[in-house]
């Protein structure tokens, strides 16, 4: 998921999958106001891919699968049940009865098929269409040769069958990401280019109005298939609200959630105030901030240089720079991700050792460039890294550019080093595979790809593919330990210098109630709108 700002981020907290304990009974009614600095770009589920619209879309639309609120445990959503064939190549979903779109029409299996085809069709320009590459017929649709996916069959209104070209252990997760959410064809076609501004889904909230640059209003979907959900009658998103200002407004009781998170300047003060103990919720997230090094060019084609960079960076100081809202990282995977290896210590901070390695590498004086997105605090983090590198004799010039330009420099292979902040990989779904193919595998190490290290290890790719073909329930542990081994090897290769794993802090008003897990919901950012409630509801 694309992250645009630092302070508020897409987060994935791995909670034990326990039923939510509610302190007091949630009430129906009331409303909540959430602020964001930037206007949303779109509410089209097949297109929206930044952390703000990601969860708003989740409240308006549904997919075949979802996660239990506040957890990362999969459960059927629009599907009532599913079966998997023994070879892992056929998934059969039975749809739930009584699901209606907001326009009143019942949802059927053909809507599901249409929605996936829409995601894969290049005309949609979906940033997530590539996720569905294992569905039979994908190549034809993605290549513009067909518009229907031969791998999706709809024998009747209630049944959808997916035929895959390869077994994929992540398939059920993919059925829960936004790009596969179900949209009504007639509304998409009616709205044309305006569809992203007039969404119609099956979800807990119904879209009411969008005043560009100012606000979006949603109201409770009274026909939602889950009884007594959602609790809130209405949600308003206000835009153009600087987070610093939003915090002051929250204190005054004007708004309920600072969508962008707590700005650095107010962080120490707010967290120190005992009155905020229950209002600021902390959670881990599946995020890693890292420096990529382009392994196809000198000096970073030399593994010793890459290891030296890993040892040169003082992660503790960088963590302090961002108000301790992160933990130092030692491997690509964040601690809450399955496959994280607590025994993998990575490279400890050791500037002397780094100098020694550089001397051994014998590459002479190193002059390089560090690309960084020009939104605070990323240039500051880059400057801290720059100082650390200078201390071991690596001169890195900073190139502070707009997000799009950094992505282009990374994608074209022009950037020797990139600090990932502001564009960091945050998992779209909680599985180690999601941290590999696009950003560390060969598939991403191409022109325009997102593997900015250009690290391509065919042997690792094969092992990854093998791991993901273990689809059976009893293979789960074996699969995760294989992924663990893969990431241990990736760490040793030092194509990245992992720097930290961000934590997530959500600041909400006293009027809002709900299990704390909902306020750092791993899937919904900043909060799970469907299950929070207003204490003052009548």
């Amino acid at each position: 998921m694309k992250k645009l700002l630092f302070s508020a981020v897409a987060a994935l907290t791995l909670m034990a999958a326990a039923p939510l304990a509610m302190a007091d009974a949630p009430k129906q009614g009331g409303q909540a106001i959430i602020t964001f600095n930037n206007d949303l770009t779109t509410l089209d589920p097949q297109v929206g891919y930044d952390w703000q619209n990601w969860s708003v879309i989740k409240s308006i639309f549904d997919g075949l699968m979802d996660y239990k609120p506040g957890t990362t445990e999969l459960e059927p959503d629009l599907a009532e049940s599913y079966t998997v064939s023994d070879d892992g190549l056929t998934y059969t979903f039975t749809l739930r009865d009584g699901v209606k779109f907001h326009n009143g029409r019942p949802m059927t299996s053909s809507d599901v098929k249409y929605s996936f085809e829409r995601a894969v069709n290049p005309a949609t320009q979906s940033p997530g269409g590539g996720y569905f590459g294992m569905i039979a017929g994908y190549d034809d649709v993605a290549g513009g040769k067909a518009t229907t996916l031969s791998g999706i069959e709809t024998p009747d209104d209630k049944t959808v069958i997916f035929k895959l070209t390869r077994p994929d252990a992540t398939f059920l997760h993919l059925m829960a990401i936004n790009f596969g959410y179900v949209v009504p064809k007639e509304e998409v076609e009616k709205a044309g280019a305006d569809w992203g501004k007039n969404p119609v889904g099956t979800g807990a909230f119904k879209f009411v109005e969008w005043v560009p640059g100012q606000s979006i209003k949603l109201e409770r979907n009274k026909d939602y298939y889950k009884p007594n959900t959602p609790y809130l009658d209405a949600i308003t998103f206000e835009f153009g609200q600087d987070p610093t200002v939003a915090v002051l407004r929250l204190k005054k009781g004007e708004i309920d959630i600072v969508g962008d998170g707590i700005p650095p300047a107010q962080f120490a003060e707010l967290t120190a105030d005992p009155a905020n103990k229950d209002l600021i919720v902390v959670g881990d997230q599946l995020q890693t901030g890292y420096v990529t090094m382009n392994v196809t060019q000198p000096p970073f084609d030399n593994i010793k240089v890459r290891q030296a960079v890993n040892m040169a960076i003082n992660k503790d100081r960088i963590v302090r720079l961002i108000n301790n809202r992160a933990a130092p990282a030692n491997q690509p995977l964040p601690p809450a991700m399955p496959g994280y290896n607590p025994d993998n210590k990575g490279f400890a901070y050791d500037p002397e050792g780094a100098k020694k390695l550089l001397a051994e590498a014998g590459v002479g004086e190193i002059n390089t460039e560090l690309y960084v997105m020009n939104v605070d605090p990323n240039p500051r983090i880059a400057q801290a890294i720059q100082q650390d590198l200078a201390a071991v004799g690596i001169k890195a010039e900073i190139r502070s550019l707009a997000q799009a330009e950094v992505i282009a420099a990374g994608g074209s292979g022009k950037a020797p080093m990139v600090w990932s902040g502001g564009m960091a990989w945050i998992a779209d779904f909680p599985d180690p595979a999601n941290f590999y193919y696009g950003i560390l595998g060969c598939a991403g190490a191409v022109e325009g790809g997102w593997n900015w290290s250009r690290y391509c290890n065919k042997a690792l790719d094969e092992r990854a593919a093998k791991a993901d073909s273990m689809v059976k329930d009893d293979q789960k542990d074996a699969r995760i330990s294989e992924w663990k081994a893969i990431f241990d090897d990736v760490t040793k290769e030092a194509a990245w210098a992992p720097v930290f794993n961000e934590k997530r802090f959500t600041y909400h008003s006293d009027r809002l109630g709900g299990d704390p897990a909902l306020f750092t919901d791993p899937i919904h950012i900043p909060v799970n709108y469907d299950y929070i409630y207003a204490k003052d509801a009548q």
Binding site: G130, G240, Y437
Partner: protein, 306 residues
């Protein structure tokens, strides 16, 4: 006059054509690939190629420009990369707040500049004059982002007189309008001063004074009316200056206008939006310049400042 008007109009159209070429050329030279942004992290090269074809980016650049221009004349500004919706209605929806802000800024600069200029002119050479003119330089030397943050800090945060940014009420407008208009107020006070001094030298003013009219009435009735004309002609030129200012001011105050839209588009390299806003801004600037050009010679051929 009509011939002059026609000539100026034709020149304006040519300028806008030039603007479209330059904008198109500049956005092509920016080192970023929109396809990478659109296609996302799991895209295959094959899919990126498809998107490239769809955006028409595979065509030779002159052909792309011709298509672009063809759409432009029909008022079609293309489809936003990030939003996948049409740019023209998007810009149109963000335009009213910006125009409102500019109107507020014009009122602010006139309300600051005219009284200050008149005051300085009537106190010519004395302390009041010096003080007013020094303040006018202070106002033109203040960076807008510093002024905006300072006003927010003092009047919204510390003293709570105005809201901390936002949009919708007249109280939201005052601080950003002041931020945008203060520098112009400084310029206008200087222009008003010199214009007024020149008018007050005229014979009819002397006559009026000789008739025993009070100095206040002389200044307001005869002086003001004649001195303000050259200033009115300058207002059209403000548009160009404001179009830069709104990018900063709208971002500091969270004002939902085209400046904010522009900044977001620049950050995400949403090229159709960048081009659309630039063209629309250029239209307003050219229109403003045209008005100034048409009005100035009617009033005073000597004015060519700023």
């Amino acid at each position: 006059m009509l011939r002059y008007l026609a000539k100026r109009l034709a020149a304006s159209v040519l300028i806008l054509l030039g603007v479209s070429i330059v904008t198109f050329g500049l956005t092509f030279m920016i080192p970023a690939d929109p396809v990478t942004m659109i296609a996302g992290r799991n895209s295959t090269p094959q899919m990126r190629e498809q998107i490239r074809v769809q955006l028409g980016l595979d065509k030779p650049i002159p052909e792309q420009y011709a298509r672009y221009l063809g759409r432009l004349v029909t008022g079609d500004l293309g489809i936003s990369y990030a939003r996948k919706s049409e740019v023209a209605p998007l810009v149109a929806s963000r335009l009213p707040p910006t125009l409102l802000l500019m109107l507020g800024a014009i009122i602010a600069e006139l309300m600051i500049g005219l009284p200050a200029g008149i005051y300085a002119a009537t106190r010519r050479g004395r302390f009041g004059d010096k003080a007013a003119m020094t303040l006018s330089f202070l106002s033109v030397s203040t960076p807008q982002f510093v002024l905006g943050l300072t006003l927010l800090y003092l009047f919204a945060y510390l003293w709570n007189w105005f809201p901390l940014g936002g949009y919708g009420k007249i109280s939201n407008l005052i601080l950003p309008a002041l931020t945008l208009g203060l520098a112009g107020g400084g310029w206008y006070s200087r222009m008003m001063r010199s214009s007024m001094i020149e008018v007050l030298r005229n014979d009819y003013i002397r006559t009026a004074r000789a008739k025993g009219m009070s100095e206040w009435r002389v200044v307001m009735k005869h002086g003001f009316r004649n001195a303000i004309l050259p200033i009115v002609a300058m207002i059209g030129l403000d548009v160009g200056i404001f179009m830069s200012g709104v990018v900063v001011v709208e971002n500091v105050f969270g004002w939902p206008g085209i400046g904010q839209l522009m900044w977001q588009a620049i950050q995400s390299l949403d090229i159709p939006v960048i081009m659309g806003v630039t063209i629309v801004a250029a239209c307003f600037i050219v229109l403003g310049n045209l008005i100034a050009d048409l009005v100035s010679p009617l009033i005073d051929p000597r004015i060519r400042l700023r």
